[in-house]
């Protein structure tokens, strides 16, 4: 057709696509906006493409979301930072749409662009945009505005700064809770840019207002940012202004508020000196560890180690350790799991004696917990465990737990334990491993669930790496190769998978003498799935073995398969032959 030769109008291509009824086409073209921009060149991108996009804001949310994202990285295409401001117009509109994801993305992109813009442009273009949004009629604009102040503020002159602070203050008292929530969750970002004097006056006033809001949801978000805010203040100011609020919230009647405090408490400690931690935060934390509500205890238990790290060992032993004991017997399995995931880190803090005397029993009881997640969380910290209690004690209490988990009825649990086997092997050493765990590793190869069989194959590879080819030759290869005679084709497939993984580790010689014959033999399997997997494995072994072996063994086998009646087998065989040719050509 003539259009191909005719001069191309990139904008026309885009417009045409964006009018298409098929949303997938519209999405594709938005995703390739940068191509269009590059084809247009910077000038025409500024004068044609950006205005067009500013108008085209009535599309599906999905398209708008893609547009908001693309525009965030568009600065180079409009001619660099001095022209970055042209991108503000389309993004401003996207900041006001209904859909939350689109707005969030537009704000994110605006921040990206704003942080590159020249100071003058920020004052003349960016800040007015923020002010317009903050005065927006509908809440969407005002919600978006809250996330932009921290970009506009630093370069603003003094009077403008005063104005921006006052506008933010108004947003904190907006009529709509949606806006106040956004103001609360962005407060700490804005606070980070405000000068110390105003921080203590204006920003802290906003913080206090938000923490007294009549909507629980707003107060919650104010708490969420308190640690970040606290870190901006001098420790004594933090102790005077933020600490009382938080200690008060730690006894709030809403469990959500207490939960949030439990999450924030440790972070807040970093902003405070040791004294207020000891007198105020520690008691509050201990209360949260003993909270009535399991959700709160979960949050608090997860921070136990970090908290101990900032306390003196005496305080930790005196106040935290008794709670840890209680938590290890908590009625909620989720609390115990949360504890189990961090408790090992306490050992270095408490020192050897306290660890053996006090922590070890807790630790052993968690390892015997009836709930698999708890045990898994302990086992996953195995290296730490080993350092503390030593290998003998560990293996005694660990092994039954592992054996049990290895046969857990939830395959995800089995998967998790397989993934820890290489770590275990490393910690326990070869002797221990042979006795107890070797059998398990083979057993997983014939699991009912594919993911487990696959993980088991990978595990063998890791073991071979850990203990070396000689050990593998003795303890893995013979057992694995036996599977070749298994009557279940899925098991035979796992064998092929294992071979493709083991080949590179075992090296050329063993691969040729032991593994390759099994693969070639499998190419005569009656199941086509096995045969095309043979083709795949052969392809992967090309790089492992010598050129001569490739020509002598692999190629003939692939040639044979390429004439198979099954279309898939032929396809993969041809693929294999092609990669042989590529290797031959390049060498």
């Amino acid at each position: 057709m003539s259009t191909v030769e005719a001069p191309l109008y990139p904008i026309a291509v885009l417009i045409d696509e964006l009018k298409n009824d098929d949303i997938q086409l519209r999405l594709n073209s938005i995703r390739r906006l940068s191509t269009i921009a590059r084809a247009l060149g910077e000038d025409r991108t500024r004068s044609e493409l950006i205005p067009f996009l500013s108008e085209n804001n009535d599309d599906d949310d999905e398209v708008l979301l893609a547009m908001a994202e693309e525009l965030g990285v568009f600065v180079p295409y409009v001619g660099g930072v001095e022209h970055a401001h042209v991108l503000l117009t389309p993004l401003e509109t996207l900041c006001t749409v209904e859909e939350t994801c689109v707005r969030d993305k537009a704000v994110e992109s605006l921040c990206k662009i704003g942080s590159q813009m020249r100071e003058n442009d920020l004052i003349e273009r960016f800040t007015p945009l923020v002010k317009r949004l903050a005065a927006g009629e509908w809440f969407t604009a005002r919600v978006s505005a809250c996330g932009l102040f921290h970009i506009a503020y630093p370069s603003a002159p003094e009077t403008l700064k005063t104005e921006l602070r006052s506008i933010y203050g108004q947003l904190c008292q907006d009529d709509m809770p949606m806006v106040r929530r956004s103001a609360a969750s962005n407060l700490w970002k804005f606070a980070g840019t405000v000068e110390s004097a105003h921080l203590k006056a204006d920003i802290m006033q906003m913080f206090e207002d938000l923490t007294q809001d009549d909507q629980d949801t707003v107060r919650l978000l104010a708490v969420e940012g308190c640690a970040a805010l606290g870190k901006l203040l001098e420790p004594q100011d933090c102790a005077a202004r933020i600490l009382p609020v938080i200690v008060n919230f730690s006894q709030d009647k809403s469990w959500r508020v207490r939960y949030m405090v439990a999450n924030q408490l440790y972070e807040l400690c970093e902003a405070l000196g040791p004294e207020p931690i000891r007198t105020d935060l520690l008691p509050a934390y201990v209360r949260l560890l003993r909270d009535n509500e399991a959700e709160v205890r979960i949050a608090a238990a997860g921070k136990v180690t970090k908290f101990c790290q900032i306390l003196s060992p005496e305080l930790a032993i005196q106040h935290i350790l008794p709670c840890v004991k209680e938590l290890s017997l908590d009625s909620s399995q989720h609390v115990r799991a949360a504890l189990a995931s961090v408790v090992m880190g306490m050992a270095p803090v408490l020192g050897k004696d306290a660890t053996i005397e006090q922590l070890l029993p807790i630790f052993l009881s968690l390892l015997k917990d009836e709930f698999p997640d708890v045990r898994l969380n302990i086992i996953s910290k195995l290296d730490q465990v080993n350092q503390v209690i030593g290998i003998d004690l560990l293996s005694q209490s660990l092994l039954p737990a592992i054996v049990e988990l290895a046969e857990d009825r939830h395959w995800r649990v089995r998967l998790a334990i397989i993934e820890y086997i290489p770590l275990l092997a490393n910690q326990l050493g070869v002797g221990f491993f042979d006795d107890k765990l070797g059998g398990l590793c083979m057993q997983w190869l014939q699991d009912k669930v594919y993911s487990i069989r696959d993980a088991a194959a990978k595990n063998l590879k890791h073991l071979a790496e850990e203990f070396g080819p000689d050990w593998a030759m003795q303890h893995i290869i013979p057992q694995v190769l036996e599977i070749a005679n298994d009557s279940h084709y899925l098991h035979r497939m796992t064998l092929l998978r294992a071979i493709s993984l083991l080949g590179p580790v075992m090296g050329s010689e063993i691969t040729c003498s032991k593994l390759l014959p099994v693969v070639v033999n499998a190419s005569k399997d009656r199941v086509p799935n096995i045969k095309f997997n043979v083709a795949k494995v052969l392809q992967s072994l090309i790089s492992v073995v010598d050129q001569s072996v490739v020509e002598k063994t692999i190629r003939p086998c692939l040639v044979e398969l390429s004439e198979d009646p099954d279309v898939d087998v032929r396809y993969f065989a041809v693929q294999g032959l092609q990669s042989i040719d590529q290797v031959t050509m390049s060498s």
Partner: protein, 520 residues
């Protein structure tokens, strides 16, 4: 007014439900009363109906708790002359002038909230409290209560202390894996008394001689906000009580109406734009259904805003099934009052049209049908193209229920009439779908329906049908060509683009650090 009529219906139903669940305890209550009185020192005085100021020790201690709580909340002037009456007396045992004070004492007694950690203690306390609440309900329903300011204050305080609570977190299953999602709602162990408190609150709000001017000081914005928070309850019985009460508040307190509407809008915004989790949307919409049907015509701009900014976006959340019936009712009420709104509603439906959720799609088609049925020709013509583009997709749905439901639109006489009049626009939109269905839809019922519609078209305007057929064949042959052209255009673009070098990259001024200065 329609609001009140519907409200009365709610109240009647709710009372019947509550009363039917109450144990009949009238005889038993006497024995309980006398048992309670034995602990006092002045049994004889009491039984003679003489006012008693010296109270038994055990009771004094309880009362002092109550007094401490009350005086912290209320100025002494309001409480003056109130604390003198022993709350465990029965209404029939005190003189008429004293009844009012006894009423307040009993309300104060009920402010104590049981702790359920000790089940045995809790159950005896609960019994006493339930008994007192029943007496209060009886007293109010007998019409002898006077809601002066102290009484209103005591009532609101008692309701606030009992009702306004934080719901526990969503239950996590204790059976190791979270895959078996357990959707049993949690029921508050104190429900039996909560129910009575709700009953009392309802009777209070609906009390004929209640002066809204006095009551609004205590049934204030914060009271209403807390009440609205309770709509999050997982217990449908509780939400049902709340629905009736909020509706009555809306009816009784004219001053609060704008506030209630605004607060409910905020709940809806949060639900739609932030959390997508709320248990009480259906109930809130039910109240709004009758509020909307009471709106005067022409509709105020504020109310139309509510339709466009709250109700239409409510079509987006996944859980729409829970409240779709109530939502449709609200929307229909709006369109009924102003036909022009049909357009906004339909545009909204098309905007939020579900792509992968067939159950939701079925609801959308039903709603669309309901709205189209109310749309006149002029409004219809403004939106028929996008509507029938969407319907064309539904006709082809591989979910047979969706396809079937879309075909059934032709059975609606009003819609069929609209289609027939605009067939020159609609036929060409629908025709390709019909062809595609007859060629490869898997479901026999759908195939039959497609054939019917095709026949209908043929009888209506055979010439047009043939024209569509020709056009389709033409388009099909162009389809591959168009795709090829598109591919070439993009390839061409890519090569042009490859030559692009950002002119500015070499002379970019040093980028200012994004992280601003931080005090300390």
């Amino acid at each position: 007014m329609a609001v009140c009529a519907a409200g009365n219906r709610f109240v009647a139903i709710m009372l019947k439900q509550i009363l039917s669940k109450l144990p009949r305890k009238s005889q038993k209550s006497d024995s309980l009363d006398s048992a309670g009185l034995d602990s006092g020192n002045h049994t004889s005085n009491l039984s003679n109906g003489v006012q008693c100021t010296n109270i038994g020790n055990s009771i004094t201690s309880r009362l002092s708790v109550v007094k401490r709580v009350s005086s912290a909340v209320f100025p002494a002037s309001i409480m003056a002359g109130v604390e003198a009456v022993e709350p465990n007396l029965s209404f029939k045992d005190v003189s008429n002038p004293q009844k009012q004070n006894l009423f307040i004492s009993k309300l104060n007694l009920c402010c104590e909230v049981s702790d359920f950690s000790d089940p045995e203690k809790a159950s005896s306390e609960q019994d006493l409290k339930r008994q007192t609440l029943i007496e209060l309900v009886d007293f109010v329903s007998s019409g002898s209560a006077k809601f002066n300011e102290p009484a209103v204050a005591a009532m609101c305080k008692m309701c606030a202390l009992n009702l306004f609570r934080v719901f526990p977190p969503k239950y996590r299953s204790n059976t190791s894996s979270g895959e078996a999602e357990d959707d049993e709602p949690i029921f508050d162990p104190a429900w039996s008394s909560l129910q009575l408190v709700y009953d009392l609150l309802l009777r209070f709000i609906s009390y004929s001689s209640l002066d809204a001017k006095v009551a609004k000081k205590h049934v204030d914005h914060s009271f209403i906000l807390k009440l609205l928070d309770l709509f999050e309850s997982e217990d449908p019985r509780e939400r049902d009580c709340l629905k009736t009460i909020l509706h009555r508040i809306y009816g009784k307190f004219m001053v609060h109406r704008p506030f209630v509407r605004k607060a409910v809008s905020n709940i809806i915004y949060r639900f739609v734009f932030e959390t997508e989790r709320h248990n009480g949307i259906a109930e809130l919409l039910e109240i709004f259904g009758s509020i909307i049907s009471g709106f005067a015509i022409p509709l105020k701009e504020e109310h139309k805003m509510f339709l466009c900014r709250a109700l239409i976006p409510l079509h987006k959340p996944k859980s729409i099934g829970v409240y779709h019936q109530q939502l449709t009712y609200c929307v229909v009420q709006f369109v009924d009052k102003d036909q022009k709104l049909a357009n906004n509603v339909i545009k909204g439906l098309l905007k939020y049209w579900p792509i992968t959720n067939s159950q939701k799609e079925l609801m959308f088609i039903s709603e669309l049908e309901e709205i189209l049925e109310m749309t006149n020709m002029v409004e219809f013509q403004k939106i028929m193209v996008p509507v029938f583009q969407r319907i064309a997709c539904c006709l082809n749905s591989s979910h047979y229920q969706v396809a079937e439901r879309a075909h059934l639109l032709w059975n609606n006489e009003h819609i069929l009439n609209l289609i027939t009049h605009n067939r020159h626009v609609i036929f060409p939109l629908i025709f390709p779908s019909l062809e595609r269905n007859s060629q490869n839809h898997w479901n026999q019922a759908v195939l039959n329906l497609t054939q019917n519609i095709r026949k209908m078209f043929c009888e209506m305007d055979e010439e047009l049908l043939l024209a569509c057929q020709r056009k389709l064949e033409e388009e099909n042959s162009q389809l591959i060509e168009a795709a090829e052209k598109r591919k070439l255009a993009w390839e061409h673009l890519e090569t042009t683009a490859a030559a692009f070098k950002p002119a500015a990259t070499n002379n970019v001024p040093p980028v200012k650090p994004a992280t601003p200065l931080v005090a300390c």
